[in-house]
């Protein structure tokens, strides 16, 4: 039961990763590509980590996985904000 649930979560995470990568290649402008990447980062990794944490051997490993997700969440939110602000500044400044 847990194996099935964990497999489903991992595959869902993989789907978001691939959708985000394809979106990064195909979408027309920087802001929409930013949107695609954020899906891959937050949701893809989040679902993958949820799936892996379900079959972690002990609580410490599950906690470490959660910590990795939180670090990536903070990093990707900050980075998306910085890159979007930089792009806007270059657009209006020059």
């Amino acid at each position: 039961m847990i194996d099935v649930l964990s497999s489903l979560l991992i595959l869902a995470g993989l789907f978001f990763y691939l959708a985000g990568s394809i979106g990064l290649l195909r979408l027309p402008d920087l802001y929409s590509r930013l949107h695609a990447l954020t899906k891959a980062d937050n949701l893809g990794l989040g679902l993958l980590i949820a799936g892996l944490a379900l079959q972690a051997q002990d609580l410490l490993i599950a906690f470490k996985l959660l910590l990795i997700w939180l670090a990536i969440l903070a990093a990707s939110a900050t980075n998306a904000h910085l890159i979007a602000r930089q792009a806007r500044r270059l657009e209006s400044g020059s």
Binding site: S6, S7, A40, D41, I68, A71, I72, A75, A87
Partner: protein, 86 residues
């Protein structure tokens, strides 16, 4: 279960490859930075799915380190661009 993990590792390598393609074909510097962020996150996912597959718990610590470094990369990039614009 190993099948699912192998499939996930395979898909993440594909995602890494698409990210590299984006770096190669990027129209602006911001796009290149976005792609490098995707490569970082896909790398973290790859290490995490390989860890139970190879029975190497230490790979989780490597992934944690990669996640922390990813936070610094884009901030350094933006800071450097601002310096060169002024």
């Amino acid at each position: 279960m190993p099948e699912v993990l192998s499939l996930s590792a395979l898909g993440l390598v594909l995602s890494l490859f698409l990210g590299l393609l984006r770096v190669l074909l990027a129209p602006t510097a911001g796009d290149r930075m976005l792609a490098s962020q995707l490569i970082g996150t896909a790398g973290v996912g790859l290490l995490l799915s390989l860890s139970p597959l190879l029975d190497q718990p230490a790979l989780i610590d490597v992934a944690l380190l990669l996640a922390l470094l990813a936070a610094v990369a884009a901030a350094a990039f933006t800071g450097q661009q601002e310096d060169s614009n002024d």
